[in-house]
């Protein structure tokens, strides 16, 4: 931990690491990855250097969500310094406070709040130092632009003057006076992205870009299918190939180490391997498998009595929705570089869990965590799937064996075949409603593939004011390895629910926005829906108006969202022209960041709605490349307008994920509105009549 550096000059703010996090039992990381919570570890969160520069430390990683900028803005505003005086250090286990991982849209809500407290503590300390220096009561002083001034303007002193020769440490004050939203000068306002320059000049370093002296290039033998096991391998010919330094065969790990990437790949092709067949499976039979293998029912929501509800109903609808596997497919395929120096291991790995990977590596090699350093550099996307990071283990093992640093890099095909996919789901909804469109009974049975039941529970609860409800999630067998994806199962659950709501609207002949409003009392929900519909120019009409308008709402990570879409359907292609969204994520620290995340969520969700599905046979991905796995491109992207409608007094909730939860349903509802065809299977374009 950073204690060793506390003799550096400057003002250091330290605090308990656990402060910023939920209790371990509820923690996602604990459930998902068996992360251990540190006991009471004190770590440095912030340093104000004698030259006035501010360094903030956070265990989060930057993988596109703009968190470095968001945290910098929070620190700068609380500490009353210009944004460019703040540097944020992320994701280096030797430098930053322990962190469970970057997921669940928690960075602004938790670490951001902790850093604001640290910055407010530092500000208070500087005000007290200034009070001594100027011989004035602290209450008569205020800080701005790195300068403490008397309110009468008669005297002032800079942070730099105050910190000359100072080396002091303060504890984060849990009751540090946070700046009220009305007094923000930087938070909540458009701010530049602090790491933009490195991204446009090519200077930003990602895992794929890490090069260290003496590094060997690895090509790792990987199974052709999920759950295919190696039966036999012959490495003799590979060892004779040009540039090969060593061929490694250790337990399940077979790899070629060579002087260049090309030599390693060519030699790997000379490795003769035989594989046992993976268990039979097929994407064509996936819906049937999900239904047949559903087990471990878990009721996520129950109220009233469904029997009573269906008796009260004048209409009843039942429908089943299918959501296939989709690939996260981040632009940067996984890569890692490992270097051993005696019994110290350093691994560069673009993972969302640098501390979790550190724990894993320490366990693997039977060494204390302090001897392992994991550095997450810039990460080229992940959307949830870079929490597990086998490449880090492979690189560390190979580097140990070779006695030299080793680089492991996935190809695009490796990334499609060996990274996790979003769980497929088969979801049945049975609803009962009155003639005027009040929903009185709601039964949802959601079967999600994979061995992590909590993925499928996310977003399964209906937010509508329905008296008789039972929502049950099930775990189904999965022929592919499933994992986290933006909003986990939230997007699948929302797709089923929000399509079904539209079907009710159509059944009773009520406008889809109006029907939702009749069943939604929550003021934050009503506001996002009303604001989105208004900005869109929604004019009421029963569903099936032939205009190609669709709407859906969502609730994810505590944030409320509504989206309206306008689209055309012709020649088997759906073109989404325009999306208007309203997001309430409470206090918005960094509006450009929140807008960018909404736009990205819409485009990513558009891909899942229209094009994307992982096809497989016997555990092998059949469309492991961008030729046959279509993702949205510039020509597919709609015009997106986003309204941020939250109250600044409401605590910040996530902005990175909510935008994806309603969009697939909004598009499916728009397709129904345009064509009259109700498609209950994604991706829609495969099922257009």
């Amino acid at each position: 931990m950073p204690d060793a550096r506390f003799d550096e000059p400057g003002l250091h703010i330290v605090g308990e690491v656990a402060l910023g996090f939920p209790p371990p039992r509820q923690s996602y990381a604990r459930v998902a990855y068996a992360n251990t919570q540190p006991g009471t570890v004190t770590a440095r969160w912030l340093t104000v250097r004698p030259d006035g520069r501010v360094v903030a430390y956070a265990g989060k990683v930057e993988y596109g969500q703009g968190i470095r900028s968001g945290l910098a803005v929070e620190v700068a505003d609380e500490l009353r310094v210009p944004l460019d005086a703040v540097e944020v250090v992320l994701g280096d286990t030797d430098a930053v406070p322990w962190d469970m991982g970057t997921f669940g849209s928690q960075s602004t809500a938790r670490v951001g709040l902790q850093l604001r407290k640290a910055a407010a503590t530092a500000r208070q300390a500087l005000l007290e130092m200034a009070a001594d220096r100027l011989d004035l009561p602290a209450g008569e002083l205020s800080a701005a632009g790195g300068i403490v001034s008397a309110r009468d303007g008669a005297s002032s002193v800079t942070y730099v003057d105050l910190l000359h020769g100072v080396s002091a440490t303060r504890d984060v004050a849990d009751d540090a006076p946070l700046t009220p939203p009305a007094d923000f000068t930087q938070m909540g306002k458009a701010q530049p992205r602090v790491d933009a320059l490195a991204r446009v000049t090519g200077a930003a370093v990602y895992s794929q870009d890490v090069r260290v002296d003496g590094m060997l290039f690895a090509a790792v033998l990987r199974p052709p299918a999920h759950r295919a096991h190696l039966r036999s391998v012959d490495i003799a010919a590979a060892g004779r190939m040009p540039g090969v330094v060593r061929v490694v065969q250790e337990d399940d790990l077979v790899a070629v180490l060579a002087d260049t990437d090309q030599h390693a790949e060519a030699a790997l092709a000379a490795v003769r391997a035989e594989w046992d067949d993976a268990p039979p499976s097929s994407s064509l039979e996936l819906p049937a498998l999900l239904e047949r293998s559903a087990h471990d029912p878990f009721v996520t929501q129950e109220q009233g009595s469904l029997d009573d509800g269906f008796r009260e109903a004048s209409g009843i609808l039942e429908a089943t929705y299918f959501i296939p596997y989709v690939s996260n497919a981040p632009m940067e395929p996984r890569a890692a570089v490992a270097r051993w120096e005696g019994e110290r291991l350093t691994v560069w790995a673009g993972t969302q869990r640098p501390f979790g990977i550190r724990t894993e590596l320490a366990q693997r090699f039977g060494m204390p965590e302090e001897q392992v350093r994991v550095i997450a550099p810039e990460i080229g996307g992940g959307f949830g799937s870079k929490s597990p990071y086998p490449a880090a283990h492979e690189a560390a093992r190979l580097a140990r064996i070779a006695g030299r640093p080793v680089r492991v890099a996935y190809s695009r095909a490796d990334d499609f075949q060996h990274a996790t996919v979003r769980p497929a789901a088969l979801i049945t909804v049975k609803s009962g409603f009155t003639a005027d469109g009040r929903i009185v009974a709601w039964q949802m049975d959601a079967r999600h593939a994979g061995d992590r039941p909590f993925l499928g529970r996310r977003g399964s609860e209906t937010p509508y004011d329905t008296p008789h409800v039972r929502v049950t999630t099930y775990t189904s067998d999965s022929p592919l390895a499933t994992g986290s994806y933006r909003s986990l199962g939230g997007a699948a659950n929302h797709f089923a629910r929000e399509c079904h709501i539209d079907e009710i609207a159509h059944a009773v002949g009520v406008d889809p926005v109006e029907l939702r409003l009749r069943n939604l009392a929550h003021p934050r929900f009503r506001r996002v829906l009303e604001r989105a519909a208004e900005a869109f120019g929604w004019s009421p009409a029963p569903a099936g108006s032939r205009r190609g308008h669709g709407v859906a709402v969502g609730l994810d990570v505590g944030s409320y969202v509504a989206e309206c879409v306008e689209l055309d359907v012709s020649g088997g292609e759906v073109r989404v022209r325009r999306v208007v969204g309203a997001l309430d994520c409470g206090l918005v620290v960094n509006p450009e960041g929140a807008l960018n995340q909404m736009e990205g969520s819409v485009v990513m969700g558009l891909g899942t709605a229209l094009y994307e599905a992982v096809d497989f046979r016997n555990g092998r991905v059949l469309n492991a490349g961008f030729t046959r796995y279509r993702v949205p491109r510039a020509a597919d992207a709609p015009r997106i307008e986003t309204l941020l409608v939250g109250d600044p007094e409401t605590p910040s909730t996530g902005a990175g994920e909510p935008g994806i939860v309603p969009i697939a349903a909004a598009i499916a509802n728009g397709v129904f509105d345009a064509t009259g065809q109700r498609i209950r299977e994604l991706p829609l374009q495969r099922h257009l009549a």
């Binding site: 991204r199 000049t201 930003a204 090069r211 990205g600 961008f626």
Partner: protein, 157 residues
Amino acid sequence: MTTIEVNGRSYDAPEPGRNLLSFLRLDLGLTGTKYGCGEGLCGACTVLVDGQPLRSCQSTVGAVVGGAITTIEGLARAGELHPLQRAFIEEQAMQCGYCIPGFLVTAAALLARVRQPDEGQVREALALNICRCGTYQRIVRAVLAASRSGAEAPADA
């Protein structure tokens, strides 16, 4: 010894079969050009050869010897950012940023050819580049803003 010109500097050329992307990234350390798919389908590896965009992952050094290569590191001139780079910063046209060098280089070739493209031309020129973070709206806006900024792009970039 055969040499190869990259960003105005001359380097000893490796064996002609060396993959151009690997040469630039792993041999020269010009890691701003990215590996995205290895199949020429995502545009992350785009460089300019004599001003023309080329998928470097699909090329060898031998195929471009004699041409002048420009990578993202060579887009700025004499410390002055290319108008596109300024516009991408201004519009915050990036999230993870991994695809951005490829978009910038592709767009630079467009602006060298068409000084004031319309939105359709921009989207068409960028159709072979993928941004998985979905920042297309900002990217298109940035390219249009750069084209309107009046600053003429250097002819070979």
